[in-house]
Symmetry: C2
Subunit: 327 residues, 2 copies
Amino acid sequence: MSTATIPEALVAELRGTRRLLVTSHANPDGDAIGSTLATAKLLRQLGHETTAWLRDPLPRLYRALPGSDEIHCGEEPPVGFPQNCDAVVVLECPSLDRTGLEDALTGLPLLNIDHHLGNENYGVVAWVDTTAPAVGEMVYRLARALGLEIERDVANALYLTLVTDTGGFRFSNTTAAAFDAAGDLVREGASPETISKWLYESQPESAVRLVGEMLRTLEVHADGKIATAWMTREMAERVDAQPGDSEGLIDFPRSIAGVEAVAMFRQLDNGYSKVSLRSRGQVNVEEVARRFGGGGHRNAAGFSSQKVGQELAEETITALAEAIGRN
Amino acid sequence: MSTATIPEALVAELRGTRRLLVTSHANPDGDAIGSTLATAKLLRQLGHETTAWLRDPLPRLYRALPGSDEIHCGEEPPVGFPQNCDAVVVLECPSLDRTGLEDALTGLPLLNIDHHLGNENYGVVAWVDTTAPAVGEMVYRLARALGLEIERDVANALYLTLVTDTGGFRFSNTTAAAFDAAGDLVREGASPETISKWLYESQPESAVRLVGEMLRTLEVHADGKIATAWMTREMAERVDAQPGDSEGLIDFPRSIAGVEAVAMFRQLDNGYSKVSLRSRGQVNVEEVARRFGGGGHRNAAGFSSQKVGQELAEETITALAEAIGRN
């Protein structure tokens, strides 16, 4: 059950538990990292020992966050675990297996804090608020409810969760509560300018060059409703592309006025193609992806294919045109 | 004198004046347009007749704003002016000439509302708050002070001013007050998602293609501290570029990690070159621009040159390297 109200049992558990492990999902994003870091720091004010543990390393983008090096990353447990652990705060995970640490954590008392629809309500107490713009916004409210001081590093960590989960205050989850929290976090020392520089002005040169390469392949079909673009191995080699460089590339074709669906074709090293699909509004690309053996959500999906080049493109464009027509 | 407090004289003037003209600066941006539209609508709740008049047409981007077609644009005065005008609200203009309508407005009682450092404090009353993130945020506070209801269209118009003047909540003027206002405006019906789509997902195809063309000319110099890029007439022709397409292009080279200064060279039809300069932090490109006969601000400046090609580039890069060295 989704509720904006913090369960009293959660407050009691957090006050009463002396040694806490804080974790979040594998392949951590801004919300996972910022929430984990902030929660671990905040709970120390209660006199608790806290350890932060994520299975995967932090993407380069987030390593600028002060204190992010305190997060223990990897499959190996942190020193002293599980003897030094009375309970585990699990942030932003609809189910425990999303931590990637299920084997290590199963059997420990779990405190489940999440905003995902479909959270399995696992744990000794679960607080699921599907209206929350970010789990970081829930942690912010929790800090206020526990009467904790929000220090500058925590304010920045929580501000980061808001920015990343709302797409820079652009997505439909940009609620009044998101702005209320942001305003308060700025008062506590968060710097929107600094965090924006980390997120948006610290691109590798290769990633910026890759935008140029990709846009040279931009094509528009179906009266401007479908845009396609390619990312080939030659392009990646030409710009000396690094892992992660292609992230967000698909947003460029998607930003064109009138475009309702986008396909980006990426050549993989194994000869397969990876097709990423995006759409606006009611156009359902999940159905398209499923037809080709993939999956995803209504507005963001993808699939892999043995086909390449023109054949793959034509097949995909036809399917996207049908999806637009069904709408 | 800058003050966050709304002068009582301004409140009295706005309450007491029956027929008001609302205007802002020439070449209007989001803050000018949103503030003008909102002010004209809000003051009607006091039973006033209000007319909105801007000298220049609204850029395409802002025409999606509901009610924006009510703004009279052009050098010709709106019907009935000046007989139907007891006073003029001048928004976001450090001096009256910035309206581009100085001849028509001189002699009328002026109510000056602005957030620019260096506002000349002209008018029968001047409210200058240099700490305000946008003049729209001042109009928001004014609406609250006057006890006016903020309708959905007004909420969206004022939200637009916040987004555009803070660069999407990224610039250093992204204050707690900006977020407080944004939260409240969302409660009054503003839609961050809708406005983001207007601003960021309604690009002409040619503008997106131009990004690709420009990035193919990207060069990095001085140990990665200087980035340069070109926009030639051939590129513009190839993508069938429209006026305004090159706006914001310079942000791409500027987003590279480690880059401290950027020069973008644009070939003009008259054979001259236009050089746009951007920098981060303390690096002063205004000094560089001034040396070549141009001007601007510390982090954004520009100049025109009769030189072209390699000669122009080398000269500019040398000057930028010196500016970085002085820092």
